[in-house]
């Protein structure tokens, strides 16, 4: 006890006798934040110590800034957020901040994107001096049963669309699948042998996050989610829950062979159809008492199953999915060739999968440009 006491006394005396700079390290170097002088980035939690180096004292440890610094010194400055390979599921937090190249959690990114979209919309309205008049005039016109003509934007010429797909100004063009589809359509024109060095590996986690459009694609999306289908909440209510469980079971019986590269059994398809019909009949009186957003979500889910069922009944689906990709992944050339063969298209990225889409876009762009260079 006395030894401990004496140790404490000696330690305290050393602290009191030590120079002030040793007790309170120079704030200019701790933490190593280029924006340290800015109050918003000055105070942050850190765990570590300072060590003397030939360049002066420097900090060794971990810092967690309260406010994320802009990526002035990041290798990804001005580029989309890199895909974090360890982020396999939405909502799983990943390290963030300027030290990790701004890789952040999927949930935070989705919120950030929604906020950016809202800001862009507000900016669009603000830049349009006639926006308010137009909103009110459109509503008045609708009330008079004379909806204003909705002239959609004319489609861009192919060359211009390709340039836009290669250098999109907005991530939305990528996450909506539009830029990826344009690149996919252009890939048959490239020199694949020359592009081979840029034929990037696509890991299974990334492939899992891709969603496909077209009827076959929707079927494939559902099949790959089999066992963890995102049923809307209404299907957990009592009259629908048993039917939902039946549907999950019957769909799994169809999805398993499909993911193994085989055509599903006819009897299993008939069983699925029967269950879906019963679920839809039971859901109709429930849906008409739901709020609009809940009702559309439930209808959308049932529609996806309807489309999937139609495809199951009408198409030859063998080799619709390469089972090796589940474990070994694929590369850009394989994926593109497979999608073109089965007439699959990219659908919009589900919430949380935006980084995967951005990474895929970089890989597709590099592959396309490598194939173009040699053709010159």
């Amino acid at each position: 006890m006395s030894a401990r006491l004496s140790l404490a006394v000696v330690g305290g005396a050393l602290i009191l006798l030590a120079p002030v700079s040793a007790q309170y390290p120079t704030p200019a170097l701790i933490p190593p934040n280029p924006l340290y002088q800015h109050p918003a980035y000055r105070y942050q939690f850190y765990l570590g110590t300072t060590v003397p180096t030939v360049y002066g004292r420097t900090f060794v440890g971990v810092t967690v800034p309260y406010t994320r610094a802009p990526q002035l010194f990041s290798p990804n400055m001005g580029r989309p957020v890199p895909y974090s390979w360890w982020s396999v599921a939405p909502g799983v937090p990943t390290p963030s901040g300027y030290m990790s190249g701004s890789a952040s959690s999927a949930a935070a990114l989705a919120t950030q994107r929604a906020f950016q979209a809202a800001q862009a919309e507000a900016l669009r309205l603000r830049d349009d001096p006639e926006a308010a008049q137009r909103i009110i005039a459109a509503q008045a016109s609708y009330e008079k049963a004379a909806p204003p003509p909705r002239p959609g934007l004319p489609p861009l010429p192919p060359a211009q669309a390709l340039i836009q797909a290669l250098t999109p100004e907005d991530d939305q063009l990528i996450t909506s699948g539009q830029a990826l589809n344009t690149l996919l359509q252009a890939l048959p024109t490239i020199d694949t042998r020359a592009a081979e060095p840029a034929n990037a590996f696509l890991p299974p986690q990334l492939l899992q996050e891709i969603r496909f459009a077209t009827p076959k694609g929707e079927l494939l999306n559902l099949a790959r989610l089999s066992g963890r289908l995102p049923f809307p909440e209404v299907f957990d209510q009592e009259p629908l829950r048993p039917l939902k469980e039946n549907l999950e079971r019957d769909f799994a019986a169809v999805a398993l062979p499909l993911l193994a590269g085989k055509s599903p059994d006819r009897a299993a398809i008939a069983q699925l159809e029967n269950t879906l019909l019963r679920l839809e009949q039971a859901a109709a009186p429930v849906i008409r008492n739901l709020s609009f957003d809940e009702a559309t979500a439930a209808r959308r889910f049932l529609n996806q199953f309807h489309n999937a069922l139609r495809t199951l009944k009408s198409e030859n689906l063998s080799r619709l999915w390469n089972p090796n990709w589940n474990a070994l992944g694929a590369n850009v050339a394989d994926l593109a060739q497979h999608m073109l063969k089965h007439q699959l298209r990219f659908d919009a990225a589900p919430s949380g999968s935006e980084p995967a889409y951005l990474a895929l876009h970089r890989a597709l762009t590099a592959y396309f440009l490598a194939g173009q260079k040699t053709r010159k």
Partner: protein, 447 residues
């Protein structure tokens, strides 16, 4: 522990210091201190009715019942005033007159269905008025010199100097919720919550005026010249007046009424006379009239006087398509008249009409409408067809009202708004065949 005397003195000084810091000094020094606190607005006679009896309906700030104002009656501050077309008033000092012409021809740039305002005690101006919705004409009725009017609407306060006698200017105020806004139950007046979009249009009809907009004085003259100011709730207040070569036709007070507008004006005048004589019976008598026009006027009046029961009952089983259309349009107008009106209607449906919360939310969403993105989704149409088979007739009629506008071929299979649920089921099956094909790929499908 008892505090020592110096400690008490120090504490007292600190408290006094805090008081000096926290208490805002009243503008104008000692004279302003004599004013009553703003939490107790005074109810004073600030204007007088110039038009016939029954042209105004007035309601106490804290009340719910409207009463007609007789001719020459005093108009009090803080009362909510609903003006029927043709109503006129003059400020207490006689220097400013307000006219409420309405929009009988229905050709205003933004829809005008009713006009309501609140007068305030005039301080440093001749008349102080808040326009809640609709159209008013401000005129200088002074024998000579300028007259000043403070005009408030939405979050704006404009001070208008009508420079010469006979100067007149017109203000239109209209609002709507943007299509596709999602209804949410929220606390009243919560800052940052969604709000309707409003526009105001001010035009000098005659003479010259100086409008002080947030400290910036803008000189206006009747056309030709800088005659128009436009404001909307999405942008900053105007800083420049727009030049007009001539008055737009809809703003010309001298143009003749068309036969339908004249018939409407005559029916409104009959309502005004009856309302002045029998205020409790007028709306019921018009609502149950055999002719269509009085019933349409009753709907307009019910909306203006916040008689939501009549609108809801009419929507339950409208006898004609005109009443159905007008009823939905007026409800859409009512929820956009003030930022919290959507919440008031939701509360009304739940507490007074025994709607379930989900039914109330569907009702409000069907009034708010759908965005272009919604209309690109097949599910929107499917859900509207689902609502077409709802047990509540009001929800069926609201869904059908949208589908008739969204499916161009729908009128081929007539829908009876006063029909039964079985009729609606039959029409649902026919309209189901008209649904647009699904568009693929649809952006944001899984969101």
């Amino acid at each position: 522990m008892a505090m020592s005397q110096p400690g008490l003195i120090a504490a007292a000084l600190v408290v006094m210091g805090c008081g000096l810091v926290l208490t805002p000094s009243p503008p104008g020094g000692a004279s302003a201190a004599a004013q009553p606190p703003s939490s107790q607005p005074r109810r004073l006679a600030v204007a007088r009715v110039l038009s016939a009896a029954g042209s105004f309906a007035s309601r106490l700030a804290t009340g719910t019942e409207y009463r007609p104002l007789p001719a020459e009656a005093d108009i009090h501050s803080t009362d909510r005033l609903v003006a029927f077309p043709g109503a006129n008033l003059v400020s207490k000092n006689g220097r400013i007159a307000l006219a409420f012409p309405g929009d009988l021809l229905g050709d205003a740039p933004a829809p005008i269905y009713d006009t309501a305002c609140i007068l305030h005690p005039a301080e440093e101006v001749d008349l102080d008025v808040t326009l809640e919705c609709g159209r008013l004409v401000v005129g200088n009725t002074a024998a000579e010199g300028a007259a000043t009017c403070r005009l408030r609407f939405w979050n704006q306060t404009w001070t208008i100097a009508l420079e010469t006698p006979e100067t007149r200017l017109l203000l239109d105020l209209s609002s709507r919720w943007p299509a596709g806004t999602r209804f949410q139950v929220r606390k009243m007046n919560r800052p940052g919550s969604a709000a309707p979009v409003a526009t105001a249009l001010l035009i000098v009809l005659k003479g010259q005026a100086t409008v002080d907009v947030g400290g910036v004085a803008l000189a206006l003259t009747a056309p030709p010249g800088p005659a128009e100011l436009r404001w909307d709730s999405l942008h900053d207040p105007p800083r420049v007046a727009r030049k007009l070569e001539q008055l737009p036709p809809w703003a010309d007070p001298q143009r003749p009424l068309t036969p339908p507008a004249r018939a409407l004006a005559e029916t409104l005048d009959r309502f005004r006379q009856l309302y002045a004589r029998e205020p409790d019976q007028a709306l019921t008598r018009f609502a149950t009239a055999k002719e269509l026009l009085p019933r349409l006027v009753a709907l307009h009046v019910a909306q203006a006087l916040d008689v939501l029961e009549h609108l809801e009952q009419t929507l339950h089983a409208p006898a004609t398509k005109d009443e159905w259309d007008l009823c939905v349009t007026l409800l859409r107008h009512w929820i956009a008249r003030q930022p919290n009106h959507d919440q008031f209607l939701y509360d009304f449906l739940l507490t007074r009409q025994q709607y379930a919360p989900a039914e109330g939310r569907i009702f409000l969403q069907l009034l708010l409408g759908f965005s272009e993105e919604d209309l690109r989704q097949t599910e929107t149409y499917q859900v509207l067809l689902d609502y077409l088979t709802h047990e509540k007739a009001t929800l069926r009629n609201l869904a059908a009202w949208h589908l008739l506008r969204l499916l161009p071929e729908a009128p081929r299979f007539p829908y009876k708004p006063d029909g039964s649920r079985e009729d609606a089921l039959r029409v649902r099956d026919q309209w189901k065949q008209l649904l647009p094909p699904p568009s693929l790929p649809s952006p944001g499908k899984e969101r």
